[in-house]
């Protein structure tokens, strides 16, 4: 069982939650939880993408941060053309290839 949390919302935020609740035929509490889940998912993905872009984590580690499987996160990176090793090392890779 989760913990009840008291949060003061602005009129605008409350209006949005009321609308969402009516549209989706759910309680206001469920609407708030839905929004928190949605935001958490987005924030985790954003954090994972930043971590990958900054070269702090591998694709697999980033996928874990995002709460996704390897293939799912691979798709997200592909959509942003972020896959591929560091372009600054291209010369190094090509030079090394002579020994392959």
């Amino acid at each position: 069982m989760g913990e009840a949390v008291y949060v003061r919302l602005t009129d605008q935020e409350l209006e949005f939650i009321n609308t969402l609740s009516k549209e989706q035929k759910i309680t206001r509490s469920e609407a708030i939880k839905k929004l928190v889940d949605y935001a958490a998912e987005g924030l985790k993905r954003q954090k994972a993408l930043e971590s990958y872009k900054e070269g702090k984590t591998t694709i697999r580690e980033s996928a874990e941060i995002a709460g996704l499987r390897y293939f799912e996160f691979f798709d997200i990176l592909a959509k942003e053309n972020l896959l591929g090793t560091n372009p600054e090392n291209t010369e190094l890779v090509l030079e090394g290839m002579e020994r392959i």
Binding site: T58, I59, Y70, L77, A78, N81, G84, T85, N86
Partner: protein, 167 residues
């Protein structure tokens, strides 16, 4: 010729641009049990590219070997076991690691393990006259369309075009 160690990321791009058959014909391709498990998971969640890679494994075109020092690398670099397994295998076999992962590339450079990626593989085959300039450029363009880093592909396209001028 030394084997080529395959990470999931490169296997997927080799598949996306239809390069995997050529790669297994040119190299003895090896991967690890950890990567095999990951590919298997990809099939389970419906990824077509994973199914294709698995077919090459089932046909024994890609061999599966267990690396001895996976745990050592895993703890030393604090990375996941799949990442550690291919690095360990490349080190043990003194071979190239095919990967598209920047962080793995960084570790490999630090450890003196040579790496290759999908775009560089296109360049290698072009260099070995397996592809014409047009074919190589089209493959690099396809890499970009399937989500590959544009800058790397453009760098290699320029080299190919410079080769064309010089040739």
């Amino acid at each position: 010729m030394k084997p080529l160690i395959l990470n999931t990321s490169s296997s997927l791009f080799f598949t996306k641009i239809g390069l995997l058959r050529e790669v297994v014909e040119q190299f003895e391709v090896i991967t690890t049990k950890e990567i095999y498990d990951e590919i298997f998971e990809g099939i389970e969640i419906g990824y077509r590219d994973a199914r294709i890679v698995m077919q090459f494994i089932e046909d024994k075109k890609i061999k599966i070997i267990t690396a001895k020092n996976t745990e050592k690398i895993e703890h030393e670099f604090k990375i996941k076991k799949e990442d550690a397994s291919v690095i360990a295998l490349a080190q043990e076999k003194e071979s190239f690691l095919a990967t598209e992962d920047r962080q793995i590339e960084k570790i490999c450079i630090a450890m003196g393990i040579p790496i290759i990626n999908a775009a560089a593989m296109v360049f290698l085959f072009w260099n070995r006259k397996k592809y014409t300039n047009t074919q190589a450029i089209l493959l690099l363009d396809l890499l970009i369309k399937t989500g590959y880093n544009r800058q790397i592909c453009v760098q290699i396209m320029e080299k190919i075009l410079a080769g064309e001028k010089n040739g």
